[in-house]
Point group: C2
Chain length 174, copies 2
DNA sequence: CATTTCACTTGCATAACACAAGTGAATGAA
DNA sequence: TTCATTCACTTGTGTTATGCAAGTGAAATG
């Protein structure tokens, strides 16, 4: 089975075992230029697969963590993350998160060469997922640096903590 | 900075920007043979990074979903997942999940050539994370096939639903 | 007006994943 | 008791995603 890339018009082979979605980007170098990654979606309708296809790569949730939990909002701040994301991957992932509607990108009114990346409602709604990660890792990682007071708050007053996060981090969308 | 692989004794270059953990497996083909993936861990202590390094690849949570939500427990059943996991990746991921202590592997008493893969407590404790994925995807994926009654139950009686899951899916560990 | 900052892009290398084919032990039917 | 089939994998090879270093152009700063 062959699928035509909507940008290059090149034909690509697609497996018929599981469907491959070509979203104006694909496998050839010509397409890759405009690619916003990931190139393939499983499209089974399964909610777990959907979430994994949207933010299940190695970096998307790290970026969302930086916005949500650490108040970061610029390219340079994300790049400085201790995990060491590569600059090309960061650019690609920011584009992807924008395409998925999880973050917004606006010029910083105070500095015209700087952009501000902020969570949309859809992006912020991943917060409960992030908090469950914190809870699980705090329980099972002996080397965890998760702050005990935060973990305690997550365990005892999740809704309140979420509300505090919402107030401080969510972009004004209107 | 160089790190010695504990299997091959080969030296590998490790970035000093972010630490790379070599766990009896690494970058050379000699090591790869014994590799259980992933080869690199970020080791920053961050709970989000820890969870991503443990189950943040493309397939681990799909397997856990199959055990947790669909009652699967054999290699063949996982292989038949509609998402179409490749057999080598499945074998690799099962080994990895075992190494991480998320699943157990036992011979099927009824069929000596069959193995049963079941969740440990640590693996089952990812259920809240999985349920948050269901909730988020059900809200944002227009094509979702998530059952409305399940989503409703997750939203209104999460603890009860988790308890039901626990009863039906968790391996007897003692 | 030269220098620095900032948000990227480009080219090339490596790691993760995909696909097809094959293997050996356990089982079941002839 | 042989032989085909099932089952859980392994192996080889190609493709996709990620990593790394270097470079670019526009906006700010001295």
């Amino acid at each position: 089975m062959q699928v035509k890339c909507t940008i290059s018009n090149n034909l690509h082979i697609a497996s018929d075992i599981f469907e491959i979605l070509i979203v104006s980007c694909s496998r050839c170098s010509k397409c890759r230029k405009n690619c916003t990654c990931p190139k393939t979606k499983r499209q089974t309708g399964c909610p777990i697969a959907f979430a994994l296809d949207t933010v299940g790569d190695k970096w998307s949730l790290i970026i969302i963590r930086d916005i949500l939990m650490r108040g970061k909002e610029t390219y340079g701040e994300f790049l400085a993350a201790e995990e060491g994301i590569a600059t090309n991957i960061l650019a690609n992932r920011l584009k992807h998160l924008q395409d998925e509607g999880l973050i917004s990108k606006t010029r910083d009114p105070k500095n015209q060469r700087r952009y501000l990346y902020q969570l949309t409602q859809k992006g912020f709604d991943l917060a409960p997922l992030v908090l469950e990660m914190v809870r699980w890792s705090a329980a099972y990682d002996p080397e965890t640096t998760a702050r005990p007071d935060i973990v305690e708050r997550v365990n005892t007053d999740r809704e309140g903590f979420l509300e505090d996060l919402r107030k401080s981090r969510m972009a004004d969308e209107d």
